[in-house]
Amino acid sequence: MAKSHDVRRYPGFMAITILCLVILYAPLLVVAVYSFNASPSITIWEGVSLRWYVDVFTGPESAKFREAAWNSFIIAITAATTATAIATLAATAVLRSGRFRLRTFSLGLISLPLMVPEIVTAVATLIFFNAIAIERGLLTILLAHIAFCIPFAYMPISARMQGIEASYEQAAMDLYATKRQAFTRILMPLMMPGIVSGFLLAFIISLDDFIITNFVKGAGVETLPTAIFGAVKQGIKPNIMAISTLLLLVSIVLVALSWLIGRRDQARGR
């Protein structure tokens, strides 16, 4: 019985799976492979070389990229940290203060930005900054990033928290811990895997955001994605592929890290 319903036995299952994987990963693979191309052309293969990686760090555009990467990094760290802190407090409020009247509403409010088209958020954020007359620059990028990172940080944190029974905190308070001690000594450590996942997710989302950043950044202020976009407008060079590959590597490392933390936690049978 169970076997006949096994999705793997459906006709064409394998073919469709392979097709999807190819569509998903072939472009990434091509970019990664051609970043090691010795040729200045992006289509003709001339042998293996690291020249474009060297170019990224020492070439004529290296100063621009270095500054953009630094901006991106600072913004991603700050935005992810702030968003994670806010998301942690929000999850605690929504899941631990019993049933309050606007609970479902709050939940919707937090996750709605995930469904709003990014261009709408971008335009709205720009209009907002204009309305309150903040000069566009690093600060506006940072504020916008904090705002849109919150729902991404919130998801894994709230998922994690739902799995933590309220009896742990009750046991702590029963054992003479104040509410604050129950939070810092019991709830926070138990939530840590969710918090770390939330932080990493927010970090990646912030690091590679283009649309919103492009709207709210000031003239002359670039993050890595906007700098790459600016460079591509003058023609795609292999150094762009090298940067993209490096960025991909960072993403893979962070996602793997987040997955490993989750798995180690599961292995402990929590």
Binding site: M173, D174, A177
Partner: protein, 363 residues
Amino acid sequence: MPQDRDIAIDVRDAVKRYGTFTALKRISLSIRDNEFFTLLGPSGCGKTTLLRMIAGFEEVTEGTIYLYGQEIDRLPPHKRPVNTVFQNYALFPHMDVLENVGFGLEMLGKSRAEARARAGDVLEMVQLSQFASRMPYQLSGGQQQRVALARALAPRPRVLLLDEPLSALDLKLRKAMQVELKHLQRETGITFIFVTHDQEEALTMSDRIAVMSEGELQQLGEAREIYERPRNVFVADFIGDTNLMEVTVDRIAGGRAQCHLGGGHKLTCDAVEGIGAGARVHMSLRPERLFLSARPVEEESLSGTVREMIYIGTDITTVVDLADGPQFTVRSSNSTRGNARVFEPGAKVAVNMEPGAARLLVD
């Protein structure tokens, strides 16, 4: 107001309402110092709610709770000198056994060294010293149970609350833990308030039992009193096995009530306050207080036919149909010493009762 040093917990007119639902309907009871007290009842009877109100996890809607004369019902949980053993143990998964047990002491402001020393002592008391550095997930259910117990005992609470702590254990382990809990209570001299739905467990361990149902206190008394002199139908039915018979009271004379069952069978038992002549009430007859004989041995023996004989090892249960009347279950010990005989289905028998076996109940 109760200031008595002999009363550990005094619950006065406690009411708990959740919206329109009333979980506890005005309960008053006193739990004595150094007593093993059990709240017994089926799920949803309000026993856990009452325990959580004493611990501080539920607010009282109305009423007052005193702990050794001090009003505690408005205090947050961490200011009440009571500790709880949770049903699911709620051991902190990120701390080892010693840290778990020492947590309460540390929160009370004891030094780390002092907390660890005391935690070690308590672990020894529950025979878990060799597991001090294990993490909770590395322990069996029974060991986790002991750690939870040690953790709650370590800060030397005035009262220990136990919320169905044995329900997750298998039968053999549960029996062993029942004995151990009783020992621990004697040893530490701490008042234990134990919540369970298992009547046998309650009878085994408790000094006194409060039987609850639907948010109300049905009866409070010692195990023997609850079992042998149940006050109403609920208590008689919930505690142990019994034959519940509908009877009509014919006459009350000299503290005795003469009654008859369906089919005209006559029975006499002790009169109970509140039940007069003409009343149609229930009567409880414990199966082990009845015995069978081939011929009536007394005037009020009930005659019937054996329907079924069930062998259950320690005992033999015989089901008897009374002529034109109700069915009786009779239990006799499976022993050759007694004079109880075994009757096969179809045999004509007389059902006899020991003095005091029949008890009238209010509904």
